[in-house]
Symmetry: C2
Subunit: 169 residues, 2 copies
């Protein structure tokens, strides 16, 4: 069966950690958030919240909370994705839906020629991130997405379908 | 900023619960799994496993474990998505990546004209699902995706971006 643009974008998206420094238009950021907004969630509870950070001082502050801080310093914008714990109904299902929301944003970025990487190690210091940004503890940090025009073409790999499929009947 | 096919697919995908009964080609199922396989995960650990169920008796068995069983009975195929707990390193991050994997599959299905719905209520009886399918308890059920050609055009809604964005600096 022939592939199509959606499946190609899904297969060709890579984590991009080096950026040209060119500025991402505000409208592109808005379109990426719009893609995140349309993710599915259990009971359609949409337990996600977004903080967009382009400000240099805030990015520098954020970069101090992770071993991958260089990526945050050099990217053009970050989207911090939070779990609104007051909107949650089941942690696993809510967290999965936030994963779907993040993936929508990564795919939308890729479709606009914008590189992105999903940063998770920073969660070790999530309460400090909230303090730096002045964000209420009801919002729990789930990921930081770094965005920038790609200055690298990384390769990646995945496990084989035959290994991942444990039953087909 | 103009939208594009990726963002349109993301925005126009809906949960489809009524199906024509037409058979989904095996190659379409394979392409959907392929999309799932290319999701990002922390440390690229890919903690997901798939069980594809088209067999009528197994679908009937599964349908008994959820209040939404009618959807499972009438869909053409299900993909049960499992968390391979032996491959996990951090539950929140692993569960988020499985959400990204599921979203890739829903988008791929949509791009092929196949309707899908992400079923979660069945997780209340996840160990019984493993028993029915003869699947080792190391694999923890995370979701069942029902697939079929759409026999409805559902509407949906989302919270506004201005409400979801708690900071933009």
């Amino acid at each position: 069966m022939a592939t199509n643009e959606i499946v190609s974008t899904i297969k060709n998206r890579r984590s991009v950690r080096k950026y040209t420094g060119d500025e991402i238009p505000e409208q592109a950021i808005s379109l990426i958030l719009e893609a995140g907004r349309w993710a599915p969630s259990g009971l359609n509870n949409q337990p996600w919240k977004f903080a967009v950070i382009k400000n240099g001082e805030l990015k520098d502050g954020l970069s101090g909370f992770t071993s991958y801080g260089g990526i945050i310093t050099k990217c053009n914008a970050c989207i911090a994705v939070f779990y609104d714990t007051l909107e949650g109904y089941n942690r696993d299902k809510d967290v999965m839906s936030i994963g779907a929301c993040i993936q929508n944003m990564l795919l939308a970025a890729s479709s606009l020629g914008i590189g992105s990487v999903w940063l998770g190690e920073i969660l070790n210091r999530k309460s400090e991130v909230n303090s730096l940004l002045g964000i209420d503890p009801r919002y729990e940090l789930m990921a930081v997405i770094a965005l920038g025009y790609p200055d690298e073409s990384p390769k990646s790999s995945r496990k084989e379908i035959s290994f991942l499929t444990i039953m087909r009947k």
